[in-house]
Subunit: 220 residues, 2 copies
Amino acid sequence: MSQEQPRLQIAMLLYPGLTLLDLIGPQTVFSWFADIHLVWKTTDAIASDTGIKVHPTCAFETCPSNLDILFVPGGFGGDKFMIDAEVLGFLADRAATSKYVTSVCSGSLLLGAAGLLKGYKATSHWAVRDTLAGFGATPVDARVVVDRNRITGGGVTAGIDFGLTILAKLRGDDAAKLTQLAMEYDPQPPFNCGSPKSAGPEIIQQAMSAMAAEMARMAS
Amino acid sequence: MSQEQPRLQIAMLLYPGLTLLDLIGPQTVFSWFADIHLVWKTTDAIASDTGIKVHPTCAFETCPSNLDILFVPGGFGGDKFMIDAEVLGFLADRAATSKYVTSVCSGSLLLGAAGLLKGYKATSHWAVRDTLAGFGATPVDARVVVDRNRITGGGVTAGIDFGLTILAKLRGDDAAKLTQLAMEYDPQPPFNCGSPKSAGPEIIQQAMSAMAAEMARMAS
């Protein structure tokens, strides 16, 4: 399947407190077509949001350049790295030679903090999307936003739609379609409440409270 | 949020070659309401399908009984455990005291092999669903199948629908709704091909070939 074209070279940023599903959605979509480099400051295992540990495959210094995709997942643990010069420096450096600079969920805030979304349309998790304007980006209410070589996805589960969209761009519609079928991505959400547009004020309030509690838990 | 009711006790089986997204979809859905026990024969890290390693939090012997949910993910690595007495014995033992006995994707074949789906309706990944009949189950073409206390989901991404369905049963619709919103589960698949019913013969053939290649890679 991947004989005809070289494997995509993809670096996915890890960090303590990332939302693991932000990472594993696109990682699963790309996996048959890509060498995936999981990268952090060191190669020590990091703990994701719910405690599951993930091992980096390389450190910042040893992460390849000239990537097809540089990817940043979101997560309640991301805030503290928005002022981390080492993380932002790494992102800016690899972005300069990457074909696509991408994120899912609040990962776009890290791209923004690294100066990589200035003048670009972008999206994020609905609860923080508007803060992208503070980085000179134009927030867009959409599940996947493509603006030149910046591709950003909405919250958490948007990573699957995001991944398939990029795979179609880089390896053609058939590659994305066979992947979508293999992953049986024929969603049937039990409720019509996956967006603030459909959820109604009470559920929005409950979700905001739950997320605030989770932020506090991660910070403590 | 979880003050009012006790945290759900959930055991999720790990094994080498599991499909990580099968696990992380429902794990993310349950996480705010549950203590999740990741269980394998030993507590040594196991490698999932694409190489990402996961650390068990307990071994078979130390895994709690009287669970709310016993869960088995699918994966190309699962075949070899369908004749593993230690694995099947563990599943049968904990199933006897679990409120719900559940799976996503080909995880239902492990439940079947453990004798836990005899006389039940169940589903699995579309490519292997019919083999459930060999275990005395009635295969059903549906994304989530509930038959008494057996709840089985379809392939890979069905784990998100599956998780929300169970969470609604155990903690009410509002819990599932706020979780669906927090995960921004408002899917917009780029193609209409996530099921064999919509994909057409060519994409089905390509997906089958890709999965066969993956099976061979895992077995080698």
